[in-house]
Symmetry: C2
Subunit: 187 residues, 2 copies
């Protein structure tokens, strides 16, 4: 049931926005009572936090497997992280959109928690770029931190426009972007 609540809420939040979606809307869509909702969540905000937390910790874990893989070059790590993010927007589009749009509706304490985990994800990208520069795979750059944001931007932006059912498959898109970025930063 908890999973059902989360799934239905993600769809409603995506369509109507967090503020405009009431707990009544959520329980009506599932066909249960508010009592059921409150059995699992103390508030709509707590539910939103759950969605955010699940989304970003899952991504971070999958990223960790990439960056910790010592068989991969830094170039390959960047490609894999790009692929991870494009695939993720493809598979979990509604979650991604709720994640990117509704952060400010969390409580201040929860915003800080989520921002910290997001920051970790970002820092891992930055670390790969810095390692690539040190090892001579990427050319020297004054601001590897800005480049890391650029890598995330090019792929994260796709949640705004990308249609995975269109004529460019997720893996093709990942390849195109990895190619532009790597050519853009390679030595």
């Amino acid at each position: 049931m908890k999973r059902k609540i989360t799934e239905v809420s993600i769809k409603l939040f995506e369509k109507k926005g967090f503020s405009a979606t009431s707990i009544q809307d959520i329980v009506d869509a599932i066909g249960v009572t508010k009592g059921t909702f409150y059995y699992y969540y103390s508030s709509k905000e707590q539910l939103l936090m759950d969605i955010h937390y699940d989304y970003i910790t899952n991504l971070l874990e999958r990223q960790k497997q990439i960056v910790d893989n010592s068989h991969l070059s830094q170039r390959e790590k960047i490609t894999e992280i790009i692929t991870l993010l494009i695939m993720d927007v493809t598979e979990k589009g509604p979650s991604a959109r709720v994640f990117f749009r509704e952060l400010r509706h969390l409580s201040e304490g929860n915003i800080e928690k989520i921002k910290e985990i997001r920051k970790q994800f970002y820092l891992n990208v930055e670390a790969v770029i810095k390692a690539g520069i040190e090892q001579g795979e990427f050319r020297k750059a004054d601001r590897p931190d800005m480049i890391a944001y650029g890598v995330l931007g090019i792929v994260n932006w796709s949640y705004n426009w990308y249609n995975p059912e269109g004529d460019v498959s997720p893996s093709e898109l990942a390849k195109i972007y990895a190619n532009v970025i790597l050519k853009g930063i390679e030595n």
Copy 2:
């Protein structure tokens, strides 16, 4: 007064979100009555449309001056468009965030109108990339359309994280991103 309503609303929408901001909140923040609001706007949605329309038509006009400038190479046009967008997020951060986040709260007809103008902005970027490929400035690419989205992504994403008062100035950031993208697509 109309301008004042727009300015105050943009700040409130940025902070609280469109749905959670009432007309009462807006008029309270200015110190006028609802009558004043309704003299200028028939609804909150119409006000949001005004904000969206102003934002995107202004950008499109400034982009037109760049793409129509026959003295510029395609490389230079890309650089100028990147600079335009970064400067814009810097100067009009709150408007940019309202623009990117609140589109779905417009009526369907208005969403279509705004999407059409956004599309025009995008198509102009795509046209520059295609021209650059034809003229040999950029290397051949199977999907110039995806690259155009990438260019917009890398810069538009900055509205999420970029602090223009930090240690990287808007013009430096524009230079860094133009550099990565041009190296990424040049012949």
